[in-house]
């Protein structure tokens, strides 16, 4: 059985729903239980929303991944928006510049097993998260 993979362009709020429902489908196929499926879909929803709020457009890639002795899901949220000026602050609970709850990035990190962020001002942001079954 080949690994599932989906690419969801993010350009309006309906794409957030599409991204989280793709997350649900792929995480279920990966073998995650209901609670993990919910954690993953919520993380995807937050990452997709960040794209929409801060960068307007971008792409969410969701795929099943295999590493040594483990199987899981990887989500990459990529945009070519303004980038994050103060990453430490963006990773702090309660801080927001987008009118949200300010829990987006730190909260997303808590829901997943691995979290990487690469951002450059004026170039964009790529967030990669993974969770293992």
């Amino acid at each position: 059985m080949s690994n599932s993979e989906e690419t969801i362009p993010i350009k309006d709020e309906y794409d957030i729903v599409a991204a989280r429902s793709a997350g649900k489908t792929i995480s279920s196929k990966c073998g995650f239980g209901l609670v993990d499926q919910t954690r993953i879909s919520t993380a995807i929803s937050e990452l997709a929303r960040n794209i929409l709020v801060y960068a307007v457009t971008g792409t969410v890639y969701i795929r099943e991944v295999d590493a040594t002795g483990k199987h899981g899901i990887e989500v990459v949220a990529e945009d070519h928006g303004p980038g994050i000026v103060n990453l430490d602050l963006a990773m702090t609970d309660g801080h927001t510049t987008g009118g949200g709850l300010g829990a987006g990035l730190p909260g997303t990190k808590r829901l997943m097993d691995e979290f990487e962020i690469v951002t450059a001002v004026g170039e964009g942001t790529t967030v990669t998260v993974r969770k293992w079954v």
């Binding site: 954690r39 937050e46 987006g104 909260g107």
Partner: protein
């Protein structure tokens, strides 16, 4: 346009308004529900509001904020809100993520929610 005709019904039963979210909530639908509930409160003089989220499988920070704001706005209009039917997986995710349902009373299911809202409204009147 996608979603143009979507609407979540808000029903009146006695002194209470009940709404059950049975579809995947996108932002516009959530904000539309907020407007509909507030209009219905004014129209009906309802005393309590129950929001049933049994069918919701993902609550992100935006939708959570809209639900909290609906409860706050309803409260300003004199109406108490009880959220019912939260799935265990969502409760776990909300707490781990750090989202708080500040100012919203919750109950396990619709039946318990009705008992709670009746009690809250009764105590308010005493």
């Amino acid at each position: 346009m996608q979603g143009a005709y979507e609407k979540i019904p808000v029903l009146k039963i006695g002194d209470f308004l009940i709404t059950s979210i049975q579809v995947a909530l996108h932002d516009r639908l959530a904000l539309g529900l907020q407007d509909d509930i507030l209009a219905k409160i004014q129209e009906t003089n309802a005393k309590g509001l129950i929001i049933d989220v049994t069918a919701i499988d993902v609550l992100d920070s935006f939708i959570t904020r809209v639900l909290v704001e609906i409860a706050k706005m309803a409260n300003i209009m004199g109406v108490k809100t009880v959220l019912v039917g939260m799935q265990p997986a969502i409760a776990i995710t909300l707490v781990e993520f750090g989202m708080e349902l500040t100012g919203i009373q919750t109950a396990l299911n619709l039946e318990k929610g009705l008992e709670l809202i009746e009690k809250i409204v009764r105590e308010e009147q005493e």
